[in-house]
């Protein structure tokens, strides 16, 4: 099985760095369910934790993983994996104000303070690009970004759904207005990033990631929670 539950394999079995995904509410009408993705990490003497962007300004740098998540080991060598886990652990109690958005330009973490760099209005991250941006900051590119397709019909619908949700949840009007101009930005789906993270020999192309992504969608779809 591509992703294991905590019952199948406890989260604390993660060797420094893994990836975890769970089922979430649909974003737009007609979507059966959504998928959320997070980094799972563990350092010496500490329990496994999740680092993820849950929603607009909801960055969770060190959540305990709950039973909804399914996970897999990231097949990075142990040297780099322990470095990334240490980097994540160093900020597990320091949530950042990260806006939700469809794209962000340049590095997302400041070199020196390692704090989040607030992007221009209307830009931000998703749960998937949070992972890509963090790993890119550490010079560990998971995916070959230029192989991802633009303007997939389902992505446009999803982006419109996100804008609706942001409006309903009271996101700043200028952020939402600027975000509307960004509809059509390339979307890295959570299942694609999850799939790419599990594959060896980064950076992973879209074709390779999407093959495993289909399995992940099927698996997460079959989960009760």
């Amino acid at each position: 099985m591509v992703l294991a539950s905590n019952e199948d394999r406890p989260f604390d079995d993660v060797d420094c760095l893994g990836v975890a995904a769970c089922k979430v509410s649909p974003v737009y009408e007609g979507q059966n369910f959504g998928i959320h993705v997070a980094l799972l990490y563990r350092t010496d003497g500490n329990p496994a934790r999740l680092a993820h962007l849950a929603w607009h300004f909801l960055h969770h740098p060190g959540d305990p993983p709950d039973a909804r998540f399914r996970w897999a080991q990231i097949p990075l060598d142990s040297i780099n994996a322990s470095f990334v886990a240490s980097w994540l652990e160093d900020r597990w109690e320091k949530p950042e104000l990260i806006p939700y958005g469809f794209s962000v330009t340049g590095d997302v973490w400041d070199q020196g303070t390692d704090t989040f760099i607030p992007p221009p209005c209307g830009e931000g991250l998703t749960c998937a690009t949070f992972i890509l941006g963090t790993m890119r900051h550490l010079r560990l590119p998971i995916v070959q970004e230029d192989t991802w397709p633009y303007n997939r019909a389902e992505d446009l619908t999803w982006q419109a759904g996100i804008i609706n949700m942001l409006e309903k949840h009271g996101a700043a009007a200028d952020h939402v207005a600027a975000l509307k101009n960004n509809v059509g930005a390339v979307r890295f789906r959570p299942e694609e990033v999850c799939g790419a993270a599990i594959l060896p020999d980064w950076p992973i192309t879209f074709d390779d990631a999407s093959t495993l992504a289909a399995e992940i969608v099927q698996l997460i779809g079959s989960c009760q929670t």
Partner: protein, 147 residues
Amino acid sequence: MDESRRLNADRYPPSLKDVTAQSWRARRRSTCLVQFPLRRPQATNKLDLNWLALAVASNRAKSSTDTIKTVIAGLNALLKERRFKLLSHIFSLIPVSMISPEIMVALLRTTAAVNELIPAWSSLLMRVRVELDARGLPSKKILIGLI
């Protein structure tokens, strides 16, 4: 450490040279070919370079995540103060044969975004690559994204 400083240890915190020398002695190395300078290349705020001593003194085969975190924090403190010249000095002198692969990776990845401002960064990368190869480790795989 000389005698007067030993007697006044509370008043005179150990210099980088003292700290690293103590660490190296603790590792029972018979020779020490590299010495860090007593004079700081740039005179500014008081610096905590204990992370460097820890990096050099830690297990050569593998470092704990606590040690890696300390090294990341130490590097970030220098980056925050834009002490690129000092970083370059450290990078040019750090004995890669005495540090763990985790520390090598931490040194390079934490500073990679500003590597053009650290003249010795590229030479450290090359020295790390040679050292990893010498230890029989897959340098190309470990240094992915850096080379």
